[in-house]
Symmetry: C2
Subunit: 607 residues, 2 copies
């Protein structure tokens, strides 16, 4: 045999064996130590449940009366008071308890470590059960026992694949009835729901329902969402998955900034996941220093029109080109379109018309016919706006509707809409340079030579959407530690017989403070389409926040030259492996973002 044959034979077998989550990386991260908050350690250093005491703080909400009516039993118990775990007086670990857990909504990094935290705190004296495929599995009773070996296989890995997930909303009496059946059939003492605002609202309703039915079962929510919109100030600075997702997007966005400056011919337009809040975009902007980053909340606050947004982007592209820079990075939040007031109005009007005249519009054969029907029903402002949109966008607004008959806002290719409008504007400036350049007020000073060069340059773009690759990223050390702590917290709450709380961890810079937030204190009562809706309000970017201010103070500098940075791929070892999101560190007033402290690191093994 030649050297090639020998090597290839052995190595071939070895390469094949890395299948099924056994890459070198996956093998190595299972052995990474995980920090453990001190409240979960007994005096011998063993992990066990924390005990909770009431803090001085209770949530209040404006619609307290109405919330009180809907959740009488859980509020009577919790009085909306925040609980805190205390280091002393460890409770003995209960035995024989049965606790089930499910994932709800889109995946987020760290879900598997929630399970690891639960398993660690429940220990072998209690039983941890998994519910397959989210709320649907809870309704269908798709439950199985999670073994130590299962946890050993998934600890520190990404995704929700061990359980799967789904988006079923539990609303009807029949669904609640079936949840009860699953709880009773499996003799559950606890039910852990890992999810976002909707799922945690669901958890509150299930907690109340089970109380009402006289069933003793602790229902605890765990705050998950890559968007970062499930947060509660200093009590819960962020949900899990945000750190990993923003770091994956920052890696790629940093690479694209470097690509733009290397190939010196493209503007990379990057649309970033985040259905409502621009928190992801703000973090990625702080990490990568792009030429332009749009923040939806600011645009809504300033009441900016689509035209004004385009003008601002064009202003920056023109300034850069006058300096000889014809490339850059533009960040666009996925939810932008609904934050542009005039677009929001247009979409609302369209939804109303499409609902009212559904049959009429459906019967019209061509897009043109539908347009002829719809335009007279719009307000003049909305009609004018719609007519100014590119054809594909207009078609999408009229033809693509979700199952409730509404415009599919998240499908609208906002970045392409912007690109097309910018392109028009740029060619207009080229054709009429005298209107835009000059020494008069309101015009841009430029030499003849600069203007000639400006006219010679082309506007080339590449558009990207970053989404799915971030929500199933491998958890950062922070998300791995945070979720392990959330699992320990939720398990402790179940063992303490608490119900209707959300597990929370804060003070990431000094060992971690472990809290339980009464879900009813987070819920607000809203009127939506004339119907009362109980919702946990999404946490949005505040333009008065320190993180936004740092962005706002530096963006003009970043706009006018290549100041981009590349935060690089997520590191699990070495000096760059313990970074917090910059937005979190800034908004929480931490002294540094380069490291976090969630307790002493320990080797965690489940054999």
């Amino acid at each position: 045999m030649t050297r090639q044959d020998i090597g290839a034979t052995n190595l071939a077998a070895f390469v094949a064996k890395t299948e099924g989550r056994h890459s070198l990386f996956e093998e190595a991260i299972r052995d990474l130590p995980i920090p453990v908050c001190s409240v979960f350690l007994d005096k011998d250093g063993n992990i066990g449940p924390a005990s909770f005491v009431e803090t001085q703080t209770a949530f209040t909400c404006q619609e307290h009366g109405r919330i009180q009516e809907v959740f009488p039993r859980t509020i009577a118990k919790s009085r909306n008071i925040i609980l805190e775990a205390k280091p002393d007086a460890k409770p003995p670990r209960a035995a024989g308890k049965r606790v089930a857990v499910l994932f709800s909504g889109g995946p987020a990094a760290g879900g598997h470590n929630v399970l690891a935290g639960l398993k660690a705190v429940l220990g072998n004296e209690n039983t941890l059960l998994g519910i397959r495929k989210g709320p649907k599995g809870l309704i269908n009773g798709d439950v199985f026992e999670i073994k130590n070996s299962d946890i050993q296989a998934i600890i520190n890995t990404g995704g929700f694949n061990f359980l799967g997930t789904d988006r079923t909303k539990i609303k009807t009496p029949e669904q609640f009835e079936r949840v009860k059946e699953t709880v009773l059939k499996n003799r559950l003492d606890g039910l852990i729901i890992v999810g976002g605002d909707d799922s945690n609202t669901n958890a509150a309703f299930i907690a109340e329902y089970l109380e009402e039915q006289g069933i003793t079962c602790s229902v605890i929510g765990i705050p998950k969402t890559i968007d970062g919109d499930m947060a509660a100030g200093n009590y819960l600075p962020i949900s899990f998955g945000y750190d990993t997702a923003t770091k994956v997007y920052s890696e790629l966005t940093g690479n694209l900034a470097q690509d733009a400056a290397s190939a010196v011919k493209y503007y990379h337009f990057v649309k970033l996941m985040g259905r409502t809040a621009s928190k992801i975009t703000l973090e990625v902007a702080l990490q990568t220093k792009p030429a332009i980053a749009l923040i939806s909340e600011e645009i809504a606050e300033k009441n900016m029109s689509l035209e004004a947004i385009v003008d601002e982007i064009v202003r920056i592209i023109v300034l850069r080109r006058l300096k000889g820079i014809n490339h850059g990075l533009v960040l666009v939040p996925e939810g932008l379109i609904e934050f542009i007031p005039e677009m929001r109005t247009l979409i609302q009007e369209l939804n109303k018309i499409l609902a009212e005249y559904e049959r009429d519009i459906k019967d019209l054969p061509t897009l043109k016919n539908k347009q002829e029907f719809i335009y007279p029903h719009l307000s003049p402002q909305s009609a004018q706006l719609m007519a100014s949109l590119p054809d594909e966008i207009e078609e999408m607004l009229i033809l693509d509707r979700d199952e409730h008959g509404n415009v599919k806002v998240s499908q609208i290719e906002t970045e392409k809409l912007l690109i097309e409008k910018i392109r028009y504007k740029m060619s207009e400036i080229k054709r009429h340079t005298e209107r835009y350049f000059g020494d008069q007020e309101g015009k841009i000073p430029a030499t003849e030579d600069q203007i000639e060069k400006f006219k010679a340059a082309t506007f080339s773009t590449q558009s990207h959407f970053l989404g799915y690759e971030g929500r199933s990223g491998k958890p950062t050390l922070f998300d791995a530690a945070f979720t392990f702590a959330l699992g320990l917290t939720a398990g402790s709450l179940v063992l303490a017989g608490k119900t209707g709380y959300m597990a929370a961890v804060t003070d990431f810079d000094k060992g971690g403070r472990v809290l339980a937030l009464p879900l009813t204190g987070l819920i607000a009562c809203e009127m939506r389409k004339g119907k009362e809706e109980m919702v946990i309000n999404k946490s949005l970017v505040e333009t008065s926040s320190p993180a936004f201010k740092v962005f706002a103070e530096n963006r003009e500098k970043w706009a006018t030259d290549d100041f981009f940075s590349s935060p690089g791929p997520i590191q699990h070892w070495g000096p760059a492996s313990k970074q917090l999101p910059m937005t979190v560190a800034l908004n929480q007033g931490y002294a540094d973002y380069r490291t976090f402290d969630l307790g002493e690191e320990r080797k965690i093994r489940f054999d």
Copy 2:
């Protein structure tokens, strides 16, 4: 001041200071040690030029006579003999030499370390010059001196942004004349061209031209391309940038596989960059174990039709669905379409028709008119194929043409073409289950229950294109070491007065073997459209190679269950940081892919 104000003020300033490539990661990687091949170290361990001797091996090529006619002078000098660096008899470092370097084509990770290697071997006694914006800068004489502090700022960082790059081909006598002017004006003793097959062919022509003009200037090529198609067997297992790009794509693809298995409802279709070769797709497939990966070279070899490819994908999706799996990952190489023989024929016919009847077709107002004109000119087979394509693809084939009037093959959304054809086929199977399921030969055995479940499931897809985010990735430790070695090699060759070579490094598993490959030995003479073209043949996936065999032997298993792996984000520290591409380790017969050896690690600083 509150705690929040204090923290935010200091931290805000700190965050702002990370701008301009000063992220925590970028600061840390500049200090990473770099392995140095022993041939570049003198007995005191200082870095210096290597000396080269002739090996026993000379390249031969079929068109030797014609190549000899075109490159008489460089071939007379090199006799196409491969040179090898030897550890003994270090040459003294020459002084006063002036060497310029440029990047050509798309960015690839490690370009900046080529500059670092050049600077290290030239030392302060010689001058390293940078050429801005690629071959265009060489023509325009856009040259500046590169200082130690410049290198210190860019060492180990990604992208080509320090110099920029461009795709100008140097072809006309005037262009060569202007290259000469730049060489003379800057008194260049050496010119280093970092690029792919075209750029290295260019390097060979410039070397010959300068010899002919009686100008003593060493022209050395450096093999760059993320596609991995610039390779020469055991002499050059791979070009630089491939390792980083495939690892970025493998990270994201592994995340998407995990996402598919988490959300349990999508097939993620991922198109991977790589204009011709499927080498990127093969590596990503070995790393991530997808349900399906298409390899263009195999499809061409097996003469597979579009229909046959779709049938094979559908077969796997059906098998998975019968097992209850309705999600997965499908990898599609960017260059696929031109490797499907019937598509290739159609495109060639279209190119011919579009060239011959350019005016006629241009004058026809509508797409329909153009179709009516074109169809009769196609062969019946091609006409039938074109008619079977989705409208958008047909429109793209007819309307979108590059500057040479050819179909823009790389723009065709192959993954969407496949998705649409698969969708048709899946709904056909749903409508006629009796044709596809049953106990008869050629049918798939399935129970009534399985068939009902099959019919109830939907086929949901998400399509992705991974490209730009990989070519400007941060160099892996391997690419950082490989490119530093290539820079040291190229600099040594210039100091030794060699011209018309490509720097090469091989034996990545045992300290690195440093070679110089005569460019004329790599060049072939081809007839393209009746015109003679000198080209370096692209290195493609060989279906007889060990790497392809490992893929082929395992893919059926990976197809029928969730065997995916996630290789995770690129690590620069820790146990997973020194991995070689699996394809390289397999094809070169190395014992392991988990580590490489390119010499002893050293702290490299330029102050």
